[in-house]
């Protein structure tokens, strides 16, 4: 493992009954890199995110983070080490006001460590974070119950929750799905800023056009297997990838 490698997946596999959701996937992630993960529906992208973050225990293979084997570690320990994630199905803490949603992460042992044992003014920190992801600071939206937020805001809230943990790696599962072009356009700079701050990102995306503008490298999954890897432009030239995405006529 080179100096710059922060995360490594080796031969990761997960079977659900007979379904090989993820099948022998290996890749490595460099520090401060943006890695795109693409693939058709059901190709195992979410399962891969779950494997990395501990929500699913692998049937086979290893995950190594910062030289440390984290395979099969409990999700909260993985998060504590510094891998944050968003969920494809956005589910906020419904009963809490939007900004209080962030307080959960701001209360975490990781944050206490990073801030030298003191938590500071959590409400103010939460409001700052929400402003960073595009909530209007003094609007009613941030104090409103999360249950009543529109989808676009819920997605921003997901991202803010990840950022609140001050992680090293953020795994984003289809952050842009269901957003309008304008909404995506307004979130891209937020992501770019995270990269500028030195974060490492894994972006699972269906919105290829937007993804390719941000990602340094892309891996393509199909039926749980990694079928291609490379810089965005190259990957889309790959006949196997074109087949998986556009369908092929040769394969009968």
């Amino acid at each position: 493992m080179s100096e710059k490698t922060i995360l490594q997946a080796q031969d990761l596999s997960k079977n659900f009954g007979g379904v090989k959701a993820v099948d022998g996937v290996s890749f490595s992630l460099r520090r401060n890199e943006v890695l795109g993960v693409i693939g058709p529906n059901g190709s195992g992208k979410t399962t891969l995110a779950n494997l990395i973050t501990g929500f699913v225990k692998p049937s086979r293979g290893k995950v190594i983070f910062d030289g440390k084997n984290i395979t099969g570690m409990a999700p909260y320990k993985v998060a504590d080490l510094g891998i944050a994630r968003s969920f494809q199905m956005v589910k906020p803490f419904y009963q809490l006001p939007a900004f209080k949603n962030l307080n959960v992460a701001l209360l975490s042992p990781r944050l206490r460590r990073l801030s030298g044992g003191r938590f500071g003014d959590r409400d103010a920190m939460a409001k700052d974070l929400l402003e960073e992801v595009g909530f209007e600071r003094d609007s009613w939206v941030i104090t409103h119950q999360a249950a009543s937020l529109p989808h676009g805001y819920l997605k921003r809230l997901e991202l803010a929750k990840c950022m609140a943990l001050q992680p090293e790696i953020i795994v984003l599962d289809e952050l842009f799905s269901g957003l309008s072009l304008a909404e995506v356009a307004s979130m891209v700079p937020v992501i770019e800023k995270l990269v500028a701050q030195g974060k490492t990102l894994v972006m699972i995306e269906h919105r290829l056009k937007e993804l390719f503008r941000i990602a340094d490298r892309v891996i393509v999954l199909n039926f749980g297997q990694k079928i291609a890897e490379g810089v965005p432009a190259e990957v889309m030239e790959d006949p196997q990838v074109r087949g998986a995405y556009l369908g092929s006529e040769a394969e009968e």
Binding site: F87, K91, F93, V104, L107, S108, L165
Partner: protein, 334 residues
């Protein structure tokens, strides 16, 4: 001139900002009224009630504690069908300590409260990972199982139970202790739920995966909520053991699991005060209906259904909404 009805929320700013509230007597009265009046009312009721009804009030307080204990657990995402487990474990700890070791009720009750909390938490620790109905099933089965174990092994007096236990004193003393305890538990846990700790428990209830991905060990916090809840339930059991001067298998009966849930349904979940209010409606009601013999259960059930269908949010939510909002007619120019 036409008129239109408007609904206005009273002083949201005031209620969200403790310091601001202190600047105005009217606002302070507004905040204090719904807290002070019920407290005073309960003690007044206790003072004027006959011995019989004072006993009913004591029992009501204990069911209120069980209902609050249910709600604490539910706030952290654990739905229980077995408050009888907490109640029964507390009851037996107090009963055996008093009977076999001659320890005074003033000591057995606190010991049973803490001990019951520890025992129930340890017993349920292995199933903390179960969610929803699976957790509920385990909590329902455990008290019934313990009942059969006591019957089969004849420990702690077997089917006969243990009688002749000491009391706390007369019924007035019991009422005072019960009423003070109910208010202390209610207000301190309501306070707790409004702190960041309560926020975390609510977060676990809403979305436990998201709490884990924030780097929090949810099982650690669930175990703490379980301890708090079972300690409150165990207190009720220990208290009733000394009030009845008896402990036996009925302390694990389904009543102690079902009535708290019915109270929550009537009063409104998630507020702690709602479940308490529910108990104060259901338990005395069931006493009032006692004269009706067989029809009692039917009428009881009908009232329960009417309440929950008529006010599905619960009486407490309804009342607090009405208190915090007012409606007025305003003139509309056409």
């Amino acid at each position: 001139m036409a008129q239109r009805k408007e609904r206005i929320d009273r002083g949201i700013k005031v209620r969200s900002d403790d310091v601001f509230a202190l600047t105005s007597w009217r606002e302070m009265a507004y905040l204090a009224f719904p807290r002070v009046v019920p407290v005073v009312l309960l003690f007044l009721l206790g003072a004027v009630a006959s011995i019989y009804w004072e006993r009913v009030l004591v029992t009501t307080c204990m069911f209120a504690l069980l209902a609050i204990s249910w709600d604490i657990l539910a706030s952290a995402g654990m739905v229980s069908l077995g408050q009888a487990l907490f109640f029964g474990v507390g009851a037996y700890i107090a009963g055996t300590l008093n009977h076999y070791f001659g320890i005074s009720p003033w000591l057995t009750i606190p010991i049973a409260t803490l001990g019951g909390g520890v025992v129930c938490t340890l017993v349920l620790l292995p199933v903390l990972r179960l969610r929803g109905i699976y957790f509920a099933m385990v909590t329902m089965i455990l008290p019934l199982m313990i009942e059969r174990v006591i019957e089969a092994t004849k420990i702690f007096g077997g089917t006969e139970g243990i009688s002749g236990l000491n009391t706390l004193g007369n019924v007035h003393t019991e009422f005072l202790v019960a009423a003070v305890m109910v208010w202390v538990v209610l207000f301190s846990f309501r306070r707790m739920m409004s702190t960041d700790y309560g926020l975390l428990l609510k977060g676990i209830n809403d979305n436990d995966r998201a709490v884990m991905s924030a780097g929090m060990n949810i099982y650690y916090y669930k175990a703490q909520a379980l301890f708090l809840s079972s300690a409150v339930g165990a207190f009720a059991g220990a208290f009733m053991t000394h009030a009845y001067q008896f402990v036996g298998m009925p302390v694990f009966a389904l009543d102690y699991s079902i009535i708290p849930i019915a109270s929550v349904a009537v009063g409104g979940a998630g507020t702690l005060a709602g479940p308490m209010l529910g108990s104060f409606i259901l338990v005395p009601l069931s006493e009032l209906l006692r004269g009706l013999g067989g029809l009692r259960v039917v009428i009881y059930a009908v009232i329960l259904v009417v309440c929950t269908v008529g006010l599905p949010e619960g009486i407490f939510h309804y009342l607090s909404r009405k208190y915090n909002q007012f409606e007025r007619w305003v003139k509309v120019e056409r």
